[in-house]
C-alpha cells in the first residue's frame, strides 16, 4: 500500500515566550492525509493550527515527533508542498503571470512548457485579462486566487492552506470556496486546510480534525460523507450538512467554554 501524502506522528512543538516560559503550541498530534484527500483542521484561536501547518511546510522545527511527506521525513520547506497563507504573499513587483511563473523557477520544464502551464492556471482561476496586472491592482479574492495557482502550478504532493479566505468578505469567501472545489476537482491532490469557520470546513472536506484549546491536541476526527461534486447553495440547506455543522459547533463551543475557565493570570502569562 502507498504511504500517505502527509503523515504526522506524535508531533509536539514548544515556543519560548519573552519571559522564558515555555508555551506548548502543539502537543502529541498524529494525523494522516491520503493523496487526493481534502482534510481540514478546525479549532479555537491560538490552539496551534498555524503552527501545525507551518511544521508540515518545514517552517517550524518540532521538538518531538515526525512529519513525512510521501514517506520522506520533512526537514526543510520544499517544492513537494505548496503553501497558501492568510496574508497576501504575492510579490508586488511581479504581475499575475510573473507571480505564477516565479514558483516554477526550479522546475525542470522548458520555457514554453512553463508558459503553457501558467496560462492554463490563469484560466483555471478565472483571471484571464488580468495577466499583466500587479497585485495592488487586484482585489483580495483575486490575490488569493493567484496565490492558489502559484502554489499548485509546480505540482506539489500536498497543498497546505492557512485560513486562506480569512480576510475576505462572506460573498467572496463563498465564491472562493466554490473555486477551490472546482480547482481541486481538476487537480486532485492532498489538501490540509486550516480554518476556524465550521461551515467552510464541512463544505470543503472529506475529513475534519477538531483541535482542543491550548496546548493543541487532536480532540476528534469527523468523516464528512457528503456527495461530491458539492453545489454550495443546495448543500448549505441540506439536513446532512446542518447536522455536521451543529455537531462541530458543539465541539468547538466546549473548547471555548474551557477557555473561559482558565484563570486570567494564566491567560496573560
Amino acid at each position: 500500500m502507498d504511504s500517505p501524502a502527509l503523515e504526522i506522528s506524535q508531533l509536539s512543538i514548544k515556543f519560548k515566550s519573552n519571559n522564558q516560559k515555555e508555551i506548548t503550541a502543539v502537543e502529541n498530534v498524529s494525523l494522516n492525509i491520503n493523496s487526493n484527500e481534502f482534510v481540514s483542521i478546525i479549532g479555537p484561536s491560538g490552539c496551534g493550527k498555524s503552527t501545525l501547518l507551518r511544521a508540515a511546510a518545514g517552517l517550524e522545527r518540532p521538538q518531538f515527533g515526525k512529519i513525512r511527506v510521501d514517506g520522506h521525513i520533512v526537514t526543510h520547506p520544499g517544492a513537494d508542498r505548496g503553501m497558501v497563507f492568510q496574508t497576501y504573499t504575492l510579490f508586488p513587483w511581479l504581475t499575475t503571470y510573473e507571480n505564477i511563473l516565479f514558483s516554477l523557477k526550479k522546475s525542470p520544464l522548458s520555457t514554453p512548457e512553463k508558459e503553457a502551464l501558467v496560462n492554463h492556471y490563469i484560466q483555471m482561476i478565472g483571471l484571464e485579462g488580468f495577466e499583466n496586472a500587479y497585485p495592488n491592482q487586484l482585489s483580495g479574492g483575486m490575490r488569493q486566487r493567484v496565490a492558489i495557482a502559484r502554489a499548485l502550478v509546480y505540482q506539489p504532493k500536498i497543498l497546505l492552506m492557512d485560513e486562506p479566505f480569512g480576510a475576505l468578505d462572506a460573498q467572496t469567501r463563498m465564491s472562493m470556496q466554490e473555486l477551490l472545489l472546482d480547482v481541486w476537482d481538476q487537480q486532485r491532490l492532498a489538501v490540509l486546510f486550516v480554518t476556524h469557520d465550521v461551515e467552510e470546513a464541512v463544505i470543503l472536506s472529506d475529513r475534519i480534525y477538531v483541535m482542543s484549546n491550548r496546548p493543541g491536541r487532536i480532540k476528534t476526527m469527523i468523516d464528512v460523507e457528503l456527495p461530491r461534486p458539492r453545489g454550495l447553495i443546495d448543500l448549505e440547506s441540506s439536513p446532512a450538512f446542518l447536522s455536521y455543522k451543529r455537531n462541530l459547533l458543539d465541539l468547538i463551543r466546549q473548547e471555548s467554554n474551557f477557555y473561559q475557565k482558565i484563570p486570567l493570570s494564566e491567560k496573560i502569562a
Binding site: 511546510a57 520547506p77 510579490f91 513587483w93 523557477k105 526550479k106 502554489a151
Partner: protein, 279 residues
C-alpha cells in the same frame, strides 16, 4: 428642478473644497506644485521686503540683488564653477564609497542576526559622535588633501546609511520569504530574487536621503585646509564679513542638494513603477 440642480452644484463645489483638506486624500497635482512654487515666491518677497525697507541691516542679511551680483561676479571669475565642481566631486566620492561598503554590510545585518549583534552596538556608538569632532583625527590620518574631506563625508554618511539599509532589508515580510522557500529556492536565491527586490525601493530612498545628508556635512568637510569648494567659500566669506557670499554659498549647496534629490526621486518613479501598479 432648478432647485435640485442648484443643490447638487453646491454639493459638488463644497466637496471639491473639502477634498483639499481631507485627511490623506490626493489633491490635483497642479495645486500641489503651485503651492510649493507660491511658497518660494512668498519667502522671496519677504526677503525683498525686509532688506529693501532696511528693516534688517545688509551686514546680517543682504538683499537678493546683492546676492545676485555676487553670483554673477563669482560666475565670471570662474570661482563658482570651480567651487561647485570641487564640492560635488568630494560629495560623490564620499557618498559612493560609503554606499559601496554600507550596502553589503547593511544586507548582512538585516538578514543575519549574527552580523546585527556584532555590528549594531558599535555603529550605534559611532553614529552619535558628531562628524566635526573627527576633523582633527582625519587630518592626522589623511592629511589635509581631498582624502580628508572625503573621509569626513564618509564618516558623516556611512554609519547612518548602514543602519537604514539594514532596516530596509528587514522590512521584507516574513511570509514572503517563507513562501519563496516553499518553491524550493535556496537561501541565496531568496536573498537575491525576493529580499533585495522587495527592499530595493527602500534602499533607493536611503540613497537619496543619505546623499542629502552628505551635502549637509560639506561645510564641516571643507572647514580646514581647503582652497576651493562651496563650504570653503562660506567659511572664508565669514572672515571678511561678506554676507552675500555666505548666502550665495548656502543657496548653492541647497540647490545642488535639491537637484541630486530630484534625480533620485525621478529615477525612483521610473524604476519602481510596480509600486503604484503601473507596468
Amino acid at each position: 428642478m432648478d432647485q435640485i440642480l442648484s443643490v447638487k452644484e453646491k454639493e459638488s463645489s463644497e466637496s471639491a473644497s473639502y477634498r483639499l483638506l481631507d485627511l490623506r486624500s490626493d489633491i490635483p497635482s497642479r495645486i500641489y506644485w503651485s503651492a510649493g512654487g507660491l511658497f518660494f515666491i512668498f519667502i522671496f518677497i519677504l526677503w525683498l521686503f525686509l532688506t529693501s525697507l532696511k528693516i534688517v541691516s545688509p551686514l546680517f542679511l543682504p538683499g537678493p540683488e546683492a546676492v545676485w551680483d555676487e553670483f554673477l561676479r563669482q560666475l565670471h571669475e570662474g570661482i563658482l564653477l570651480q567651487d561647485a565642481s570641487a564640492s560635488l566631486y568630494r560629495i560623490m566620492l564620499g557618498w559612493i564609497i560609503s554606499t559601496i561598503i554600507a550596502v553589503p554590510i547593511g544586507i548582512l545585518m538585516g538578514n543575519f542576526k549574527l552580523f546585527e549583534g556584532m555590528l549594531e552596538p558599535f555603529i550605534d556608538l559611532i553614529r552619535y559622535m558628531p562628524a566635526v569632532a573627527f576633523v582633527p583625527l582625519t587630518i592626522l590620518w589623511a592629511g589635509v588633501g581631498n582624502s580628508q574631506k572625503i573621509l569626513i563625508l564618509f564618516i558623516g554618511t556611512f554609519f547612518q546609511e548602514v543602519l537604514m539599509i539594514m532596516d530596509n532589508v528587514k522590512s521584507v515580510p516574513r511570509e514572503l520569504i517563507e513562501v519563496s522557500s516553499t518553491f524550493g529556492l535556496s537561501r541565496f536565491e531568496i536573498l537575491r530574487d525576493v529580499i533585495l527586490r522587495y527592499a530595493m525601493p527602500g534602499i533607493w530612498d536611503t540613497f537619496r536621503i543619505t546623499l542629502g545628508w552628505a551635502w549637509t556635512y560639506l561645510v564641516v568637510a571643507e572647514l580646514v585646509a581647503a582652497s576651493s569648494g562651496l563650504g570653503y567659500r562660506i567659511m572664508k566669506a565669514q572672515r571678511f564679513l561678506q554676507t552675500e557670499s555666505i548666502i550665495l554659498g548656502i543657496l548653492m549647496i541647497g540647490l545642488m542638494g535639491l537637484i541630486t534629490d530630484m534625480i533620485f526621486k525621478f529615477t525612483y518613479r521610473k524604476l519602481f513603477r510596480w509600486l503604484d501598479g503601473k507596468g
